[in-house]
């Protein structure tokens, strides 16, 4: 054939060779390409699979941790709207972002990189609505069963706080924990902060008051602070900036307006089922407004996109682009649910029931305490108290020995007012408890260099100071208490310095009273009291009896 095509007899074999060579070359090239693609695809597949497992590992680890620590709201709040990262050899690197979608739903999004491949895995955690009670009083370092409008002076509180009334926090006070306030909240004064809060009433930040977490309020938020909120805001009735403070997260307003009466700044997005008024201020992200948007003054005010459903009002000299970078006059049809207080409902305080009879009514004699050791239940009379305050007891330590049995002590119209540097220490194995009951006009007052609490200072309290009326526990000067105080109608006073500089606390434990008066830079630390056994007088306050836990709802891939 080639011979015919070429029309000559000479050289056609060479043409055959070239032709065969071409065919074989094409075939080989195809096979080589195919093999290279196949090998590359297999490697990519392996790396992508590993990236997926790494992302899932990270999402699982974080989700699991949150589920296992559901009761520790303070801890969980540290991870919300925060990004974590890490790496494991053979597994690559990963980042995890925990986002609060609602108060009952968290998103844990993990992205992993393995060699050149990356993968994202998302898990969703939900907190099912729990039957009340969902929170228990002893989860708080301070539980105020009345108003806290004036009780928090200059103080440093390390733990959760509940106030069954108004709360005023000022004078550089700080609460390193979550705060629940049944009334109105005012945080003012230089540097006063909390780690997130839920307010049933209005929340007002003044001075340089700040919240280092999310703010939930069923009322309005008044941003009168030059500082701000280091989380998101969920306000049922509106947000008003009257100072130049900032909100680092998103702002959700269920039914109300967002007013910038001063140069406030929302650093993420605003979702407002109401109107927006911006003569001042800035929204760094997008603004989704169901109703009117009103602007005045100069300068860009919304860095992202404004989507609103009502009327856009501006000065005649300005244009839309004077104030917003992007604009759409469409109702965003927001469906912002009201702030849900279910997770913040509090258990009703159990009524104090002091035993009507028993060993605690046996009067302790001076002989019973002559060795400075109390190893049995009984009634502490003024005679005993006076003996402890005698000159010979100067600086002595009295031990309540609960290593083998519970000990109940009764103060019946008696003031345990230590005056002579005496310390009362509870020695417990962690399974036996000491109850000091206060009846009538009894009180406990400790002063300079005096201490009542656990032998190992700062440990979980096995000492319970329980009062059935308006009794008072007071700490003044350099004294300290390490106990659980449960006097729902009583008063807790704390002022003065700590007992010594190495134990930087005035109070460690959990204090449940009606009124607090805390001042002078007092430090309080939360330590969960040990409550075990159904016969414990505060068994209803056992940790874990309230609240619902986070649980894994579903997995996603983006």
């Amino acid at each position: 054939m080639l011979k015919g095509i070429l029309g000559k007899n000479d050289g056609y074999i060479l043409a055959w060779v070239l032709c065969i060579f071409l065919v074989v070359s094409v075939a080989c090239t195809a096979v080589i390409s195919s093999s290279m693609v196949s090998t590359s695809s297999t490697t990519t597949e392996h790396n992508a699979q590993q990236a997926y497992y790494t992302a899932k590992s990270a999402a699982s680890a974080v989700s699991n941790y949150i589920v296992n620590n559901s009761a520790d709201t303070t801890l969980i709040n540290r991870f919300i709207n925060n990004q974590g990262s890490g790496s494991v050899s053979d597994m690559g690197t990963y980042t995890v972002v925990v986002t609060s979608i609602t108060s009952e739903k968290l998103q844990v999004k993990a992205t992993a990189q393995y060699k050149n491949e990356s993968a994202t895995v998302t898990s969703y955690l939900i907190k099912p609505p729990a039957t009340a009670p969902v929170k228990i009083p002893t989860d708080h370092v301070v539980f105020v069963n009345g108003s806290g409008a004036s009780g928090f002076g200059q103080c440093s509180i390390n733990g959760n706080v509940y106030v069954n009334g108004d709360l005023n926090l000022s004078q550089s006070s700080s609460i390193s924990g979550f705060v629940i306030v049944k009334g109105n909240t005012e945080i003012s004064g230089y540097g006063s902060t909390t780690n997130g809060m839920f307010g049933y009433g209005n929340v007002t930040l003044l001075g340089s008051g700040a919240v280092n977490g999310d703010v939930y309020t069923k009322g309005t938020l008044n941003m009168g602070s030059s500082n701000g909120i280091r989380g998101s805001v969920y306000a049922d009735k509106g947000v008003t900036f009257t100072n130049s403070g900032s909100i680092d997260g998103d702002v959700y307003i269920t039914k109300g307006d967002l007013n910038y009466n001063n140069n406030g700044n929302i650093k993420k997005n605003a979702y407002v089922d109401g109107s927006l008024s911006m003569p001042n201020g800035l929204i760094t992200g997008n603004a989704n407004i169901s109703n009117n948007a009103t602007f005045s003054g100069g300068g860009i005010k919304i860095m992202g996109k404004l989507t609103h459903g009502g009327i856009f009002t501006k000065p005649s000299w300005a244009t839309v682009s004077t104030y917003v970078n992007s604009y759409s006059n469409i109702n965003p049809d927001l469906k912002i649910l009201p702030v849900d207080d279910t997770p913040y409902k509090m258990q009703t305080l159990p009524t104090v029931s002091i035993p009507a009879s028993g060993d605690l009514y046996n009067v302790l004699t001076t002989e019973d305490v002559s060795t400075n050791v109390i190893s049995k239940s009984g009634k502490i009379t003024s005679t005993i108290v006076n003996s402890w305050n005698s000159r010979s007891m100067q600086g002595q330590t009295i031990t309540i020995d609960a290593t083998t049995n519970n000990i109940s002590l009764l103060l019946d119209n008696t003031n345990l007012n230590l005056t002579n540097n005496v310390k009362i220490e509870v020695n417990s194995d962690g399974t036996h408890f000491v109850y000091i009951y206060l009846k009538g006009t009894s009180s406990i007052s400790i002063d300079s260099n005096e201490y009542i609490g656990m032998k190992v200072r700062g440990s979980n309290p096995c000492l319970f100071i329980i009062g059935d009326g308006t009794q008072t526990v007071s700490l003044t000067n350099n004294s300290a208490i390490n106990a659980c105080v449960y006097i729902p109608d009583g008063t807790f006073n704390a002022s003065g310095s700590n007992l010594d500089n190495t134990k930087a606390f005035k109070f460690v434990g959990s204090c449940i009273v009606k009124t607090v008066n805390i001042s002078s830079g007092v430090s309080l630390y939360y330590s969960p009291p040990i409550i075990t056994g159904s016969d414990h007088p505060l068994a209803a306050l056992k940790s874990g009896t309230g609240g619902s836990a986070w649980k894994l709802e579903s997995w996603g891939s983006n």
Partner: protein, 125 residues
């Protein structure tokens, strides 16, 4: 008539002698080049086929390793003869700003029974 026929035959013989055919050298050279090229291409072809085959094996190996991991996640034993799973207790750490999560659990290494592909996963407790 006879003379004319003879003359024609001579002319044909002359023409035959003047045709240029393939020399033996050309044929040998062509065959040599073709052989070399064919040997080269066939060996590459063979290698490529092997690569494709091994890629297929590797894909299968990946699948078996993943099967081992999935069984471990589900709390099942690995399928005998298909995958091998090794567990080692440890802590998976995720560092957040201001807090660190140390989640205890098991590092799971799932591999093909032949020891080929290997994948890693952390299964929290």
């Amino acid at each position: 008539m006879e003379a004319g026929k003879l003359g024609k035959q001579l002319k044909n013989l002359k023409q035959m002698n003047s045709k240029k055919g393939m020399t033996l050298v050309e044929i040998v050279a062509s065959l040599a080049i073709l052989s070399l090229v064919m040997i080269l291409l066939i060996s590459v072809y063979g290698a490529s086929i092997n690569l494709i085959r091994s890629s297929g094996t590797q894909k299968n190996s990946n699948k078996n390793a993943a099967s081992g991991i999935e069984n471990a996640i589900g709390g099942f034993d690995p399928d005998a003869g298909i995958s091998i799973v090794n567990r080692q207790s440890g802590v998976f750490t995720v560092r957040f700003s201001g807090a660190t999560i140390d989640s205890p659990g098991n590092y799971v290494a799932g591999s093909d029974a032949s020891g080929g592909s290997k994948l890693h996963y952390f299964n929290p407790n």
